[in-house]
Symmetry: C2
Subunit: 356 residues, 2 copies
């Protein structure tokens, strides 16, 4: 079950991700060594119970490099140089081709296997870390052509130990995948959000849930995302060019009043929303939203969820929609379509006003 | 308080929006007359208690035209022709210049004031209607230059009666506003979703919350949205061209590895996310997300929200993030940043595993 991961594990870079991995390893009883350019970060992470500072003679079984994207290549090479002859090195960067290229030709290349947990928050630093950060998340493991299969298995063992789900794929596939599922969506959200920066308050008063959803990810740190996206330039450029070409088709359809063309472009997008995998990787099931008007104070939300819980119908997603001027919120519960009626009647019997 | 709205109100088009308005009027005790091209829809809406079919000699005080976007102009003109000499006519279409242009020069133009409730769901038809649909929502009221101020006041009275918040602005302003807050975000979400339609399952396995949020609105009915967006072509085209030009800048920054340029484009987008008005139209307050690992069955969610309620900290938004392979969900609660610690310690004292 341990997959041979017995420690010590060395974490290089005790930010949010690094410290969270360290905490998960400690939770599993492994010895953890912490390194960071900033000794204060090591002290903080250590104080949180994430491990101890490096000592002379330490030979880690696995090194996890968790430094900012632009510093990855050098840090991985340094670990391959410095660590023991059997030490496996991984990293947790958001792109995977660039760091592998940076260590191409290294004599210890077989001991390096990149990885990328699909977790993290808009916060940073060790104080926001948590051993639970990776619970149930996908975590890409991306062995290059020279990687030793035993090294890959050790990184997979780390993924399991952190409670995440390993998704094994080659580095180039990974980068094309995240260009599609993360980097291009982020850029498009940022472009939409940019149009709001110039808007008058009167116009923004008409904002609804839709534009909030579309732009949410654009709130992330511009410096970090410019490194992540910039580090995946080939895959992002290729896909973004496709999107730009399709945007030109949309523009033309709108400008020439080609309703059929516009409808078909929108239908293509609608089909894409159905392609995102459902809960727990299962095939997507038809969902339906049930909307409930909820007075805007804490007790009401608790009462609603108690009644939802009592109904026995599972909730796939929740949104709260706040709008100007009235002390009432609208809670949207997504449930599997076949169970909407059951939930609806359970809630109405408790006095909730619902609509689909 | 009634603003002079005493009825009868005639609702033309008994779909989701029309029937919901009819139900809200009936809730306030007004007489409601229902008309629809499809007599079955009138019977259904009537059976829901939304009003009665038209009878000879009916003279409504206010007619609400709630037909599909492409049929609006003709339907408004028909009502101005047919209704009583003092009857005010409004509509609830998603664009406001096109229907006004369609009735330009009509001798009864002073009796027409357009409007647009920021409500509606991905469902349609009278069966999904609810008197609570508009609770707390913005509702644009868009008098043209020839509108009688008394007509505008009557439409405002309808907005209040429906529990919504009137936002008064000229038709052209409205159309430019929704191009920005709704139509262009919808098109961009659709373009992102379109890139997923062509993706392999292995790539889609790396989907996280971000791409789900960005693409959610693109799940809406392509036929309806092609009419809405197509009906606002000038405003959409102008803004979409700006976005396309900025997309070219993004493409160039990525392709030429101009990290500073990319960072500044992302920073502009980040600023835009802060421009969206906060809850109840107030200036946005700094929010923070608290994440809680929740076992994936109904009782746990209820228990969490009961504990959240007991903490006395108000929740501004909720997201549930499901990921492949493990029976655990991650619930993200957005709270005002100054109260995060209070909520965190309240939840941890109840045994929840949280992280920011």
């Amino acid at each position: 079950m341990s997959g041979g991961l017995d420690g010590p594990v060395e974490v290089v870079g005790t930010g949010l991700i690094g410290t969270s991995i360290a905490l998960a390893c400690r939770r599993a009883g492994l010895e953890v060594i912490l390194t960071d350019r900033d000794p204060d970060h090591v002290r903080t992470a250590s104080g949180l119970g994430a491990g101890r500072a490096r000592a002379a003679g330490d030979v880690p079984q696995l090194v996890v490099v968790a430094v900012p994207p632009d510093a990855l290549g050098a840090a991985i090479a340094e670990q391959l140089d410095a660590a023991g002859p059997e030490t496996v090195v991984t990293d947790v960067g958001s792109v995977k081709v660039a760091p592998l290229d940076a260590v191409a030709g290294h004599p210890a290349l077989r001991r390096y296997v990149g990885s990328h947990p699909m977790a993290g928050t808009e916060n940073s630093g060790p104080l926001t870390a948590s051993a639970a950060l990776f619970d149930g998340r996908p975590w890409a493991v991306t062995p290059g052509p020279d990687a030793d299969p035993r090294a890959t298995r050790l990184v997979e063992a780390l993924v399991r130990l952190c409670g995440a789900v390993a998704v094994i794929l080659p580095p180039g596939e990974h980068d094309r995948a995240v260009a599609r599922t993360s980097h291009v969506p982020h850029l498009m959200a940022s472009l939409v959000a940019g149009t709001l920066a110039a808007a008058t308050p009167e116009h923004l008063a008409l904002s609804g849930t839709g534009v909030r959803d579309v732009t949410r990810v654009a709130g992330g740190d511009p410096r970090l995302y410019s490194q992540i996206i910039g580090g995946n330039a080939p895959a992002v450029t290729a896909l973004l060019q496709e999107v730009r070409d399709r945007l030109d088709l949309v523009l033309e359809a709108v400008a020439t009043d080609d309703r059929a063309g516009l409808e078909s472009l929108l239908a293509y997008g609608q089909a894409g929303t159905r392609a995102i995998p459902g809960k727990h990787g299962a095939a997507p099931q038809p969902m339906e939203a049930l909307r409930i008007a909820v007075p805007d104070h804490p007790g009401e939300l608790a009462r609603l969820f108690a009644d939802v819980g009592a109904s026995g119908v599972n909730i796939e997603d929740v949104r709260i929609d706040h709008d100007p001027g009235r002390p009432v919120g609208l809670v949207e519960l997504d449930v599997i379509a076949t169970r909407t009626e059951e939930l609806r009647s359970a809630l109405e019997s408790k006095g909730w006003v619902t609509h689909r």
